[in-house]
C-alpha cells in the first residue's frame, strides 16, 4: 500500500506546533480504538526507531511517533487489515523530513545521563558510540538506500515487506538493498581508514 503525501499530510500538525497534549482522547469507535491500540503496541517502537534513523533526536522522535499514530488514527478506515505496519512505516518515512525541518533544537548526538542504570557504563558507552556512527553514516546516504537498509537490517523487514511499505516492485527493493549495503560498507570502511570509527 502506498501512502500519498496528501493522505499523510492531512491531519498532521505543523512540526512547529507542540504535540497534542491535552489528554483529550480521540473520538473513535471502540472497535477502532481497539485496533489502534493493537497497532500502537505492535509498532510504536518500530515507528520511533525509524524516525531516529532518519535523523530525529530521541525527543523529536517521541513527538514524531505520536504524530504518526495520530495520522493513523484519522486514517484507520483507509488502512487495510494486515497493512498496518506498512502504513505506519510509510507515514514515518514521509513525515521524518518535515519533522526534522520543524525542530529548532535538534540534538546532533545522543547524550547519556550520568547514571547508566543496570547495564555497565562501558556497554552503554559502546552502544552510544556505535549508534552515533550508524546515524552518521546513514545521514550521508541517499534517502532511498537508507530507508531500504534501515527497514531490512534494523527492523527485520523482508524484501517483500520493504516493497509493500515503499510501494515499489520487489526487484527494486532488492536492488536498493544491495546497493545500500555496498554503500554503507564502503562508507564504514572509509571512516575506519580515517580513524573515525
Amino acid at each position: 500500500m502506498t501512502i500519498s503525501d496528501e493522505k499523510v499530510a492531512v491531519g498532521v500538525s505543523s512540526p512547529t506546533e507542540p504535540s497534542t497534549d491535552t489528554g483529550a482522547p480521540f473520538k473513535v469507535s471502540s472497535q477502532a480504538r481497539e485496533r489502534l491500540k493493537v497497532m500502537f503496541e505492535a509498532h510504536y517502537d518500530l515507528v520511533w526507531r525509524l524516525l531516529r534513523r532518519n535523523g530525529l533526536s530521541p525527543e523529536s522522535a517521541d513527538d514524531g511517533a505520536q504524530q504518526v499514530f495520530m495520522v493513523a488514527a484519522r486514517r484507520l478506515s483507509d488502512i487495510e487489515h494486515g497493512s498496518e505496519r506498512a502504513f505506519l512505516c510509510a507515514a514515518a518515512i514521509k513525515l521524518a523530513p518535515r519533522l526534522r525541518q520543524g525542530v529548532a533544537k535538534e540534538v546532533a548526538t545522543d547524550e547519556l545521563p550520568e547514571t547508566s542504570g543496570g547495564a555497565s557504563p562501558e556497554h552503554a558507552l559502546e552502544l552510544k558510540r556505535r549508534r552515533a556512527l550508524l546515524d552518521r553514516i546513514l545521514s550521508e546516504m541517499d534517502e532511498d538506500l537508507r530507508i531500504a537498509l534501515v527497514l531490512t537490517e534494523i527492523e527485520g523487514f523482508t524484501k517483500r515487506e520493504v516493497a509493500e511499505a515503499l510501494g515499489i516492485p520487489e526487484g527494486t527493493a532488492a536492488s536498493r538493498l544491495r546497493r545500500a549495503r555496498e554503500d554503507f560498507q564502503e562508507r564504514l570502511s572509509r571512516y575506519q581508514a580515517k580513524g573515525g570509527a
Binding site: 503496541e41 520511533w48 542504570g117 547495564a119 552502544l127 549508534r131 550508524l134 570509527a197
Partner: protein, 231 residues
C-alpha cells in the same frame, strides 16, 4: 605502542540501532493522547513498586513483539526502569519475620538468632525482597533481563533467516537458562511462529493452547491467533 582501533562491523552497528528503545514515559504520553492510554500505558515508568519485574516483562513483551529487538541498553529505557529496579520490589511476603521471637517449641525451623529474623526466602538476601530466584540485586536483575532479551533477539533473528530449527533450539536454551524469565510469553510466541513456519502445526496449536490457558492478555491472544492463521 599504538592503540589498535576496534573495527566495527556493519552488523554491530545495526544491532546498536535495533537495540534502541523509546522512553516508556513518551510512549505512555502518546497512548494517552490517542485515547488508548490504559493497557498501552502499562509500560510507563511510575507504575508503582509492586511487581516491578512483571512491569518490565510487559514493556519487554510489548516492545519486542514485532521483531524490533529489545535491549536495555537505551539510556532512557534504563533510566525509566531504574526507579523500579532500585525500589523495594514488593512488600515482604506475609511471613512472621517481623514478629517477636517465637516460643521455643516453634523455633525449630528458623534459628532464633535475633529478635527479628527473616524467614529463609527463596533468595539469599536478608532484606525483605521478593523476587525471582535468579535475581537478587537490581543490577543483577537488569543484567539478567538484558541476557533474556538478547536470547529472544537471537531466536527472532534465526526465525527471520528462515532457520526454524535454530530458533527452537535457541528458545530451548533460553528456557533452561531462565526458567522464571520475564520474557517467557514472548518466547512462547516466537516458538509458535517457528513451529508454524516449519509446518509443525500440531505443536504450534499445542503451544498456543498452553499459552492461552495461562491467562494471556488480549493482545497476546490476538497475536497467537494471527500466528496460527498465517500460512
Amino acid at each position: 605502542m599504538s592503540d589498535e582501533p576496534k573495527l566495527d562491523s556493519m552488523e554491530s552497528l545495526f544491532s546498536a540501532g535495533k537495540a534502541e528503545l523509546p522512553a516508556a514515559a513518551a510512549k505512555a504520553k502518546a497512548a494517552s493522547a490517542l485515547g488508548i492510554g490504559g493497557a498501552a500505558a502499562v509500560g510507563a515508568a511510575g507504575a508503582g513498586t509492586a511487581g516491578a519485574l512483571k512491569l518490565i516483562g510487559v514493556v519487554a513483551v510489548a516492545a519486542a513483539a514485532f521483531g524490533g529487538g529489545l535491549w536495555v541498553g537505551d539510556h532512557r529505557a534504563r533510566a525509566e526502569l531504574k526507579p523500579q529496579l532500585s525500589a523495594p520490589l514488593s512488600a515482604p511476603p506475609p511471613t512472621p519475620h517481623e514478629e517477636p521471637p517465637p516460643p521455643p517449641e516453634q523455633a525449630e525451623t528458623p534459628p532464633p538468632a535475633a529478635p527479628i529474623e527473616p524467614q529463609p526466602p527463596p533468595t539469599t538476601e536478608a532484606a525483605p525482597k521478593s523476587k525471582p530466584a535468579t535475581r537478587s540485586t537490581p543490577g543483577e536483575s537488569a543484567d539478567a533481563l538484558t541476557q533474556e532479551l538478547a536470547a529472544i533477539d537471537r531466536a527472532r533473528m534465526a526465525l527471520r533467516n528462515g532457520d526454524a530449527a535454530l530458533t527452537l533450539k535457541t528458545l530451548a536454551e533460553y528456557e533452561r537458562a531462565f526458567p522464571q524469565g520475564v520474557m517467557k510469553t514472548e518466547a512462547a510466541l516466537v516458538r509458535i511462529e517457528a513451529m508454524v513456519a516449519s509446518g509443525d502445526r500440531a505443536s504450534a496449536e499445542k503451544e498456543a493452547t498452553r499459552l492461552l490457558s495461562s491467562g494471556a492478555p488480549q493482545l497476546v491472544q490476538q497475536r497467537v491467533q494471527r500466528l496460527l492463521d498465517a500460512k
